[in-house]
Point group: C2
Chain length 247, copies 2
């Protein structure tokens, strides 16, 4: 199946960002136009993108998605190369999030949203043993996917090694760590935060390479934070430090 984006907000965001090549937009004849649909038609016209009103049968192949009667056929997402990312230097320090074994599409979508809001500069995912960017991820990210590079690597170990050789500091999360995530000072270095799978955590080989291993302290004996919520706690602590300059 070709790549698709579904959902009014995700399609609007893709049109506005201009970062995805959109081949065609299909709108079901059975849905009523509303301000969001009109906005999409207007943007498509502006950018010379075809939109077609089609019978609802055309949507049968996409039944599994909550598509609201509108989909866009798009070019595959462009993954960035880690070397290219490291070559493009920005102003000041940069940050990355590394995902080691996140399997749920909704979690990846939520993580992408959080990272964009918190100004993270890129997300690294491995080419195996991790969910890839699919239509559900794009939908759940609410368009955030167009605002942050996704870097796909064959080996996370090599990627972390490369970061360490390029003046980056690596922070891994582990429930049995001694230090808390807010004990690290994030505002004076390039940092990459590694989040692990919900049950297995971060791989031993990556923990060994990390400069810091931190945990999120739990106030109850119930250690089961959803991975996107765990990341949110940590990443907004880095924002707080950047904006207030205190640990």
């Amino acid at each position: 199946m070709e790549n698709i984006i579904y959902g009014k907000n995700a399609i609007t965001e893709a049109l506005i960002s201009g970062k995805r090549e959109i081949n065609k937009i299909l709108i079901s004849k059975n849905i009523h136009s509303d301000t969001k649909i009109n906005k999409i038609k207007e943007l498509a016209k502006e950018k010379g993108i075809i939109f077609q009103f089609v019978a609802k049968e055309k949507f049968l192949p996409y039944e599994e998605f909550n598509h609201q009667g509108i989909i866009a056929q798009v070019s595959p997402i462009h993954y960035m190369d880690l070397d290219d990312f490291l070559d493009t230097k920005g102003d000041g320090y940069r940050s990355l999030v590394i995902l080691d074994g996140v399997e749920d599409s909704h979690n990846l979508g939520a993580i992408i949203r959080t990272c964009v809001c918190a100004g993270v500069d890129g997300i690294i995912i491995p080419s195996r043993r991790n969910v890839q960017v699919n239509a559900t991820v794009e939908k759940t990210s609410a368009g955030a996917i167009n605002h942050i590079p996704i870097i796909k690597v064959n080996s996370l170990v090599n990627a972390v090694q490369k970061l360490k050789n390029s003046d980056w500091w690596v922070v891994a999360t582990d429930a049995s760590a001694k230090d808390n995530y807010y004990d690290v000072r994030y505002d004076d270095m390039n940092f990459a935060i590694i989040m692990g799978a919900e049950h297995a955590g971060v791989s031993k080989s990556l923990l060994k390479l990390s400069d810091f291993i931190v945990k999120i302290p739990m106030l109850k004996d119930f250690n089961s934070l959803n991975v996107s919520n765990a990341l949110s706690a940590i990443i907004f602590e880095t924002v707080r430090q950047k904006l207030t300059n205190k640990k």
Copy 2:
């Protein structure tokens, strides 16, 4: 349909906590036993709860759920009364999360998990215009629902008024607030944090009653954090303050 819990982890948690009355556990004859299923059988035996192996057709009414071939028929969740909550005083200060118009079951499940991990003492939801605790919420909460009281009220305005009259401080979140969430000191008061609907935000009538209105600062012009991730950022800042005693 009677109340059900589905998913091996959710059922195990319910058995361990003992907080839900379980009438019967149904296991599909078509699934293979594994350590989790064996643990469930063992716990059920211990507690004198019937479990039955049934033909997969028995699961047809539950098709919409990702039930993994096992469901538990349970008594409805017991919502706590706000007055009862306020009457039971704990040691030290307490905290609440108030949800004003959260509509997604997965979000409510993730919020419950986050609140339990962060030691929040209760969650207030309104009886209308907000998702209620359903089977998907129980599943997504990964059993956390058994570790925190859910308080249902007819009017959030009355509830907030009552809190304010009982030595509680109310913090509402709003994207256009001047103060950041970490500008408030949470470790020396009883506090309730109000989270709004993803698009509409917290109702005006509640904003007006609140003692503090705070925002999460965004480092990119993309203001669209998922509500459970927004809450996680704030609630773990309150944990950080409690544990380090500094703003």
